[in-house]
Subunit: 317 residues, 2 copies
């Protein structure tokens, strides 16, 4: 018996909530046939386009301390969304709200998959012409132990198999040189563990410039370096898009804008928290209705491919 | 009495040495009036376009272990180039060879500036419409102590003042959130030290997406994260350039290609080793004649603005 394929959407989370979130949820429902429950303050949501609403009286703000907020605001939309998944009322959750609080809600309410030392945030990076590169940890754990990176490799591999139908995803370790001796002590120790790890097709160290290529399918790193890589790429893409736009005619820009948009991770459906007993997709705080709809579609896909079972197997071995 | 403004060029270093290196040196001499000595094997260099040659019988290969190579190959072009600076025969050196060996040669032959705990690699990142953002450490020290980052801030600030004529360069600390509590333990400790540091206009944490903006002039980080940021941006720019080229007509691409090239750090004159008693510019291994010429121009500029004196003052306080 699996839960009905319903996505619980934190209607109050994000810089443009509830307006853009509700609009995105309606879009996901209408265009993709996804069943949705909105979670939030009924008086703020109004008719909500006819979507069902799970009432939640509190809101975790973007600036709130994640741990404290989740402990104190027990009736917040984020916490209630995670509870909907825990209780089987939804198969997955989506939030464009406070990232740390979304992770904490999912972790505390859904619980950790047995054997997982630390859940990690996975971000699929769009690569032209092939499947995305899955980068993890993209920011959940600023400091990591070498053994956690092995679990990130197992979880990232399970994700790439489940979602992109890759038989044996190639896993690389983010470093600052391809040779095994390059990197900091975390990388050197993790390299040795990954070379011996069960169920991981380890291809060795990779560098930041390999992330958007077809050289590797999954890249593991600590949450600090992963977040630095992610945001550096975002910044480079944004800077370059502006420079390109300034140099082109309106017509030429119109042909290239969709290409650039496809490479923008912010519009790509958000980040996934891997290692908890449920699917949790976290969108960018500035998410538009379109980005929200994309994120909800991803959340539904994760539930449909039964990612959590795949993660359990990958960790249990 | 300052050394004559001569740049010692490692003629054997780089994937395309000596051909492209010699061509680049000739270009720098002819187009920019820079006095040059080539360092390398006379039989490999031949006429060398009439440039003077300092003979060096050995070559440090790209794959050589940096420390060992510098100790064993005492007559290598890299070591001899660093000695030319040490001995006052040149004011600065340039190499497109083995990066680690170039750093080790400069450090061991020129020596450290008094008080500097660790030299760092500084990379100026081109920002459209304003001065570059100086990122350091971009790869010299994979693991750092918090106090080293304060010195990186002082040296990066001195560099931005000397080379870009900024009165009070804004210094940011690379992290994964703007709040002071965000980041790993290195960042948290460095944040506290930077807030109190003498001669540093500290503007707090910055993120990867701020690197190519006008929000900050100098960004300090450990050499692992700095190198990850740098290479992630390079990879994103390359990926995006290819995607843009594919989407545009030949004419439209011709208008945008120079804009993208200006953003490519590989063509931007290389990285500088800051904290040693001499100017050392390190180019990309794949450097073309044009990139070599750019790197030599930068080396000459550093000598002309007496960067080493500025760094000594910044560290001595």
């Amino acid at each position: 018996m699996s839960a009905p394929l319903v996505v619980a959407v934190d209607a109050m989370g994000g810089d443009r909530a509830p307006g853009e979130v509700v609009a995105g949820a309606l879009r996901a429902a209408e265009e993709h046939g996804i069943e949705i429950v909105l979670v939030g303050r009924p008086e703020a949501l109004g008719e909500a386009g006819g979507l069902p609403v799970v009432p939640a009286g509190e809101v975790i703000e973007m600036g709130d301390d994640p741990g404290k907020a989740v402990r104190r605001k027990k009736d917040s939309s984020l916490v209630r969304a995670a509870e909907a998944v825990r209780d089987g009322k939804a198969a997955a959750m989506f939030s464009a709200g406070n990232t740390g609080a979304a992770m904490a809600s999912a972790l505390l309410r859904m619980g950790r998959i047995k054997g997982v030392a630390r859940p990690a945030v996975a971000t699929p990076l769009p690569v032209p012409g092939t499947t995305p590169t899955v980068l993890l940890d993209a920011g959940a754990n600023a400091e990591c132990q070498p053994a956690w990176l092995v679990q990130f490799a197992q979880m990232g591999g399970a994700y790439a198999r489940a979602r992109y139908a890759l038989d044996e995803p190639r896993v690389g370790l983010l470093s600052i040189g391809e040779e095994s001796g390059k990197g900091n002590s975390l990388v050197k120790e993790a390299h040795a563990l990954l070379a011996e790890a069960r169920g991981v097709r380890f291809v060795g160290n990779v560098e930041g410039r390999d992330l958007l290529t077809d050289e590797v399918d999954v890249v593991v790193t600590d949450g600090f370096s992963g977040n630095v890589a992610l945001k550096s790429m975002e910044g480079a893409l944004r800077c370059l898009s502006e420079a390109v736009q300034g140099a082109l005619t309106t017509e030429a820009w119109a042909t290239v804008a969709p290409v650039l948009e496809a490479l923008d991770t912010e519009t790509y459906g958000g980040a996934m928290l891997l290692g908890v007993e449920g699917d949790c997709v976290i969108g960018h705080g500035a998410s538009s209705a379109k980005a929200v709809a994309n994120g909800i579609v991803v959340a539904a896909e994760l539930a449909r491919c039964d990612l959590v079972s795949a993660l359990r197997s990958a960790i249990a071995g």
